[in-house]
């Protein structure tokens, strides 16, 4: 089975019913994607599959075969962090940081669909992502900041 992960095609040895999460973590050593619940309840495992945010803990790797998978490790390219990541740093969002890969992946997908979300739209889009440290107020702030950064960079 072949997957394209962060732009690189890889061969997968895991059985087809293995959740994509554990293929990323245990076979491909991409451990930035986190295990939190195993049943799509917390969002820590969010990656993009064909540009859509999905919960990798309930997605069998066979369902991702031949499609493009993007993980947190693929966000920053050679030129540096994405606008969302920079906004997260600037807002000092993370506490323990464990959920933040998933939060960033969801926020990134949100801003692609909706470049200027309201508080309510942010809340709705991110309601599936649990943060036990309670960084929600800063996540909201960071999403707004990221929207601004993206808009200003698009103008340039």
């Amino acid at each position: 089975m072949k997957l394209t992960v962060n732009g690189t095609e890889v061969d997968i040895a895991s059985e087809g019913d293995t959740p994509l999460l554990w293929v990323l973590r245990d076979e491909l050593d991409l451990v930035g994607t986190k295990y939190g619940c195993g049943m799509a309840q917390c969002g820590a495992c969010t990656v993009h599959l064909a540009d859509q945010p999905i919960r990798s803990c309930v997605t069998p790797v066979s369902a991702a075969a031949g499609k493009a998978v993007e993980t947190i490790e693929g966000q920053a390219d050679g030129t540096g962090l994405t606008a969302v990541q920079r906004a997260w740093l600037e807002t000092d969002v993370a506490q323990c940081g464990y959920c933040q890969s998933g939060q960033i992946m969801v926020a990134t997908a949100l801003l692609r669909e909706n470049p200027a979300p309201t508080d309510e739209q942010i809340d709705t889009a991110m309601a599936g992502n649990v943060c036990r440290c309670g960084t929600y107020p800063r996540i909201r702030k960071a999403v707004h900041l990221a929207a601004k950064l993206i808009a200003s960079e698009a103008v340039v």
Partner: protein, 731 residues
């Protein structure tokens, strides 16, 4: 705050006096190494600071980072005195040896929201002493008086001649000239602070946005096996027998064996281990807790609360005043078991050889893990090496006195010639965890002619956290667990040097340690306050209502002799616009707590629909945490502490029926999510007092403040938690 120049050779007693609090009884262990440190290639200036020839500064951190901001405040303290950029300081976990034990706990432990307070002098002293040695070396090399030298940005600087040299280039001179750390050193005056007191972003923040931060669950060692444990359905149950025939045929499975915790499947990957675990057939001895239930605990505890308990405090004559009162207000408050649900599930890697053991574990309590493992394996404590990755939340769960999730990994790794990593599934975490103990508080009170509380009688019933542990009797007084009553007593008690800040003339508090069952009680962010805060602050609200006194005004009067809490309340009144009326269906509530010395109070505004659905419109939080070392970090801790306490109060409930926990994952053990998170306004009062903690403080008042606001909005008082069980649903 104590003013510079400060003699850091003060005795413990003098520190206590100088700091005005127990938390600052700290000394700095200095073990200057006269030879280059082999590991880092640099020189140990003292126990906490290594400088290498390229001027890279490394801090040996003896406290753990689990979101608490320990790494940020500790590097800030060091950076301030050493005149370097805190962000450039590298962090290395200090070895788990007595040299690095917390000066407060005398153990290697990060807990109790005391890291900032207890490292305040040691880390600054470590920086100042290292700086003094660099200055002395430069003065000798350049032949100028030390007084003419200054430091900035990692260099020693002589302004008269313009000479400057990076710290790393002075190491050779320090060794050659045999410069030793000074006995005493002056610390900076707060008016000269460049780093401390200024908002500082998280030290390890960058690694937490690009996926590179390494948590325990992320570590991989060569040849490592992954383990998943099938745990008994009832706490304290044991394996009688198991059939692993089917599991052993599953892909990747290497071995199946029984251990104390259950049956462990070892496989090449975690998913393989977890999947094969589902194929096991196990016969369990359900053990002594087969019949226990939460409802039985409640009814047993209610009955106990009617009996005389161990007397912790008896100020005035509460019993007499209540006997003679025209009206006695009585209430019983009931708080359930709560899980911590750290987002990074518990995990540990262990490697065991004949006379040594190494673990890689996200733990708050390294020295205890060492101790428990050393006893378990029968090897010397120093032969247990603890590696400490970042932790994905902790909230008290990773400070287990039983070292449950570490010692089971050690047992699973015994007899294996490779490391073994155990990961708990979320279901194991919720069902087989250690919990905030279930508590019942019986309250009785009466009022004086003016409507103010005249007598208070409280009986607390719940499992003790400390009874029978190695912390008994340090945290017990005459059999009374001081945590069971933290926040209920007006006078200092045991090692807790503070009371409630309130003065009620007749005040009697008793407690019962509930019978021990196999449900293991565990500290949960803000510990005793998680239940005492609700009982105390909600019942105080009941008395305010009965006496027709505004609940904030009542607290102002009760704290008139406690200047710090009184100031917090006065500011809260103003910042929350407390006296401005709210519309129909809305309500306001207050709670005020002293947690580990710091006074904190919150005013909450709610809107409640007819069906009980409610939103929290606003939380205004005022706190006095002494000198605010990192205001940005404090604000985050306050928001987080509120979110954590709010989730517990709104929906947190571990319900046991026939010995089995009924909840299993986030769908039936809900936690706060983004849409439910209220707007939080944080007001940190300026203070020159030494810094105190903030990690747990904000959790303490939120639950009672919300319950009091719901009462204010609806006239309906919640006395059994969570709120969702009483028809109030946070939306």
């Amino acid at each position: 705050m104590s003013h510079s120049p400060m003699n850091v050779g003060l005795s413990r007693r003098q520190f206590v006096q100088a700091g005005g609090a127990l938390l600052f009884a700290a000394e700095c262990p200095i073990t200057f190494a006269t030879k280059a440190n082999a590991a880092g290639g640099g020189s140990m200036m003292n126990s906490f600071v290594r400088i290498d020839p390229n001027s890279i500064i490394t801090m040996l951190a003896n406290h753990s980072e689990f979101g608490n901001g320990a790494y940020t405040v500790m590097t800030m303290m060091l950076a301030e005195e050493l005149d370097v950029d805190y962000r450039a300081i590298q962090i290395e976990a200090a070895p788990t040896s007595p040299d690095y034990y917390s000066p407060l706990f005398r153990e290697y432990l990060t807990a109790g929201s005391v890291t900032t307070g207890s490292t305040w002098l040691p880390m600054r002293t470590a920086g100042a002493k290292a700086r003094a040695m660099l200055i002395e070396a430069a003065a000798q090399v350049w032949g100028v008086p030390q007084a003419e030298l200054s430091t900035e940005a990692g260099e020693v600087y002589h302004s008269l001649t313009g000479q400057r040299t990076p710290y790393g280039q002075l190491l050779e001179s320090i060794h050659r000239l045999k410069i030793m750390p000074p006995d005493t050193v002056s610390l900076k005056d707060p008016s000269d602070f460049k780093v401390l007191g200024k908002p500082a972003k998280r030290h390890e923040g960058a690694a937490k946005v690009d996926g590179s931060a390494q948590f325990g669950i992320d570590l991989k060692l060569p040849g490592m096996l992954h383990g998943a444990i099938a745990r008994p359905p009832v706490h304290g149950g044991r394996v009688i027998s198991f059939d692993a025939t089917a599991a052993l045929k599953m892909p990747g499975v290497v071995k199946v064996k029984a251990i104390n915790a259950g049956v462990v499947v070892l496989a090449k990957s975690y998913w393989q281990a977890q999947k094969a675990r589902g194929e096991l057939t196990i016969t369990w001895d359900r053990g002594d807790n087969d019949g226990v239930s939460s409802e039985q605990f409640y009814s047993d505890y209610r009955a106990l609360a009617e009996q005389r308990g161990m007397l912790a405090e008896d100020i005035g004559d509460a019993k007499g005043a209540l006997a003679g009162a025209d009206r006695v207000i009585e209430s019983v408050y009931e708080m359930p078991l709560l899980a911590h649900a750290t987002l990074e599930p518990l995990n540990c890697i262990a490697q065991v050889s004949e006379d040594a053991c190494t673990i890689w574990s996200g733990t708050q309590y390294q020295s205890n893990d060492q101790e428990v493992i050393s006893r378990f394996l029968g090897i010397p404590q120093e032969n247990v090496t603890v590696h400490r990755p970042l932790m994905g939340g902790s909230f008290g769960r990773r400070s287990s006195k039983k070292a449950d999730f570490t010692v089971e990994a050690v047992e699973a790794a015994m007899g294996e010639d490779v490391p073994v990593k155990i990961i708990w599934s979320r279901e194991e975490d919720i069902r087989s965890g250690h919990y905030r103990p279930l508590f019942v508080h019986k309250m009785r009170g009466s009022l004086d002619a003016s409507g103010m509380p005249e007598a208070w009688h409280q009986v607390a019933v719940g499992q003790s956290l400390m009874q029978g542990s190695k912390h008994d009797p340090a945290y017990m007084v005459r059999g009374i667990d001081i945590y069971s009553l933290d926040g209920c007593l007006q006078a200092p008690f045991g090692v807790f040097p503070y009371g409630t800040s309130y003065q009620i003339p007749n005040h009697r508090v008793e407690s019962h340690n509930a019978p021990r069952v196999g449900i293991v009680p565990q500290e949960w962010r803000s510990v005793g306050h998680t239940h005492t805060g609700i009982a105390y602050e909600c019942f105080l609200d009941e008395l305010a209502d009965a006496g027709e006194i505004d609940p904030l005004e009542l607290r102002l009067r009760l704290t008139k002799d406690h200047a710090r809490m009184n100031r917090v309340l006065r500011v809260l009144r103003e910042k929350s616009q407390w006296d401005e009326p709210l519309g129909a269906g809305r309500g306001r509530g207050i709670a005020a707590r002293i947690y580990s010395v710091s006074p904190i109070a919150q005013a909450v505004e709610v809107s409640v629909a007819d069906n009980g659905d409610f939103t929290i419109d606003r939380v205004v939080c005022v706190l006095d945490c002494g000198f605010a070392v990192n205001p940005l970090g404090i604000e985050g801790q306050v928001e987080g502490g509120i979110a954590f306490g709010l989730g517990g109060a709104a929906f947190g409930n571990i319900d046991i029926v026939n010995g089995e926990v009924q909840q299993s994952n986030f769908h039936d053990y809900p936690v706060i999510r983004m849409p439910q998170m209220p707007k939080v306004e944080v007001h940190i009062l300026p203070s020159d007092e030494p810094p105190t903690g903030v990690g747990e403080q904000a959790t303490a008042p939120i639950a009672p403040a919300v319950a009091n606001a719901l009462f204010n909005a609806t006239g309906r008082r919640v006395r059994r938690f969570p709120l969702s069980s009483q028809g109030f649903k946070l939306v």
